[in-house]
């Protein structure tokens, strides 16, 4: 378990400079992300909140290089994502970034274990080594014994934990999670968040998650609130607290 946190933090995990993403043109143009400049340090545990349509998903996709910005820059580990080829971006995601999405995260034809080891296989890690890492992590996050189950036979919470395991197993510097708890009940959400917190603390993995869920925000140590594509508030906080502005309605 190498801790990224202990490495000299030469560059922040994520930096965006005057980032714009516009859908459509002219009258109907929507600025999903509007002039966003944020810096997220290595090892942070950040919640992106804001009303529906405020651009959370779009911002996370831009950071992960899943979509191209209209203007501006995204740096991951100090490297300019926009300047990379498709192949390099795929390699960057493989090496540095893990994704967890809201649902339908897993490949239905693969078992839980095969899903989790996906990034390790892409990197050519040997079978025995892969299996060992996966089962160790599975035990750690309460998935022990479920290795050979297909996603369809797992509960939503278990599926999301497999997805987190998959994101984590690549030993990435950064995990991007888009509403990972949206389809989970309270208990499953808490279990998932615990796993994420443990990985954040033990391995120094940076987490950025989009969420509407107050329970998730409570655990975050930094909250960035987006409204209409731009950053409205950005504040550090203690874990457990929930500042009142988080859920404020948008002034019109």
């Amino acid at each position: 378990m190498t801790s990224k946190r202990n490495e000299p933090a030469s560059s922040p995990a994520v930096e965006t400079h005057e980032l714009w993403k516009t859908f459509g043109e002219g009258e109907t143009a929507v600025h999903a992300v509007e002039n966003v400049s944020v810096t997220i340090g290595s090892g942070e545990f950040v919640a992106l909140c804001g009303p529906s349509g405020s651009g959370k998903t779009t911002l996370v996709n831009l950071i992960g290089g899943l979509t191209d910005p209209t203007r501006g820059q995204v740096l991951v580990d100090g490297r300019d994502v926009g300047a990379m080829s498709e192949r390099q971006r795929a390699q960057l995601r493989l090496d540095r970034i893990g994704f967890v999405f809201q649902a339908y995260n897993l490949l239905p034809v693969l078992t839980a274990l095969e899903n989790a080891e996906f990034p390790l296989m892409l990197r050519g890690v040997h079978r025995d080594e892969r299996r060992e890492e996966v089962s160790k992590l599975f035990k750690h996050i309460g998935l022990g014994g479920l290795e050979d189950r297909r996603p369809g036979t797992l509960s939503g919470g278990q599926q999301q934990r497999v997805a987190v395991a998959r994101a984590v197993l690549g030993a990435p510097a950064l995990i991007l999670a888009d509403e990972p708890t949206a389809n989970l009940d309270t208990q499953a959400s808490d279990a998932l968040l615990e796993v994420m917190e443990i990985l954040n603390q033990e391995r120094g993995v940076t987490f950025i998650f989009c969420t509407h869920d107050p329970r998730v925000m409570r655990r975050a140590r930094r909250i960035i609130r987006l409204v209409d594509g731009h950053v409205e508030r950005d504040a550090e906080k203690e874990s457990g607290n929930l500042p009142s502005w988080v859920l404020e309605p948008v002034e019109t």
């Binding site: 996709n61 795929a90 995601r93 970034i97 339908y104 693969l110 990034p119």
Partner: protein
Amino acid sequence: MMERWLLITRIALRNLRRQLRRSSLTASAMVLGIGFLMFIRALEGGAHLMYVETATRMGTGHIAMEHPDYMGSQDLMDRIAASDLKRAHQAVEETARPEELVAAFPQVNVGGLAQSASSSIPVRISGVDPELEGDVSFFADKMVEGRYLEPGDRLEAIVGVAVAERLRLELGSRLVLMAAGAGGELESQLVLVTGLFRTGVPEVDRGVVQLPITTAREWLELEDDATSMSVILASDERTGQIAAAVRDRLEESGVGTDRIAVRPWWEAMPDLYAGLRADAVQTYVMLVILLGIVALAVVNSILMAVLNRTREFGVMRALGLNRLSVGAMVMVEGVILTLASGLAGMLLGLAVSLGLFRDGVDISWLFGGDLAFAGAIVEPVISPAILTVDVVAILSIVMAIGILATLYPAWHATRIEPAEAMKTDE
């Protein structure tokens, strides 16, 4: 790299299984199509083997040796000298294995006139050696009246049924043959009709007369020369090789290609060969068209599979699989589907050809009366034959079609934008 391909193949295979119903629908269309064409081709192959067999036994042989100019001139001037004939025979015996060599015999072939008391017609006159050729000659099997030539015959001759009809000949009738001899003078020879043959090939039945080669040589002042030397082999497999080896051997012994041209049957009978080729090409065109239609089903099946999995491709891309690998995954899926069904189809074709119809298929209903094909005979019962070239060709076509049919869906998969894909619920 290994692990990546393992992963790609594993996902491709599992996805094929996941859509078993759609995959197997596409697959069974292919299996039936390929099985059917394989069978058709096997029948055709069997018929072709038979044409070749009969055509070679009508005198040309699997390998025909002639003076290089004889094919064009049909002139006795362009003949093989007795000494060269001996060397040719030796070359054949030294080249073909004993079990491969059925017969090797000289012939004197010349164009001339056949004249009876009532009229005269142009005929092709063959001087044959009944001792060497009797066991393999196609004519010996096709006698409808009288008998085939025998060793010791002198003035006996056999004629086609239509020749007999036109010249009003019966068994025992006298017939005068006229042709230019070696000296260039017109020579005539009296013969007696001892047999009538009906081969089924109209040109042969109305235009061929055969007599003993010894008589023909005397009559045409050829001494021990001949116009050709024919070699009949037990199978057609090594014809080309043996012909080439005989050519080399002759060259070594000082008989160059300026004196003897050694031709495999496809060079000696270009019309027959062209006919067989055209036949095969026709079948292959049919195969490509039919498989083209099946390919549309493959395109549809794989494309649907890709569209239904847009989100999954998005997830995989987000996990760090690049475009090329995504395309490769779809290619693997399509190629496995086509290859597996292609192989199954070929097995079906084999089973039907060599199992169900092992004893032959009666195709007389296809031909009505006339059973001739480019100067060769069609027997009404054809035994299917699977040729290696066909297996290789069909397999290659199946592969090519599988790859072509999967290219578009694969390209489509590489165009999926992960951010967009993530929005779909599929």
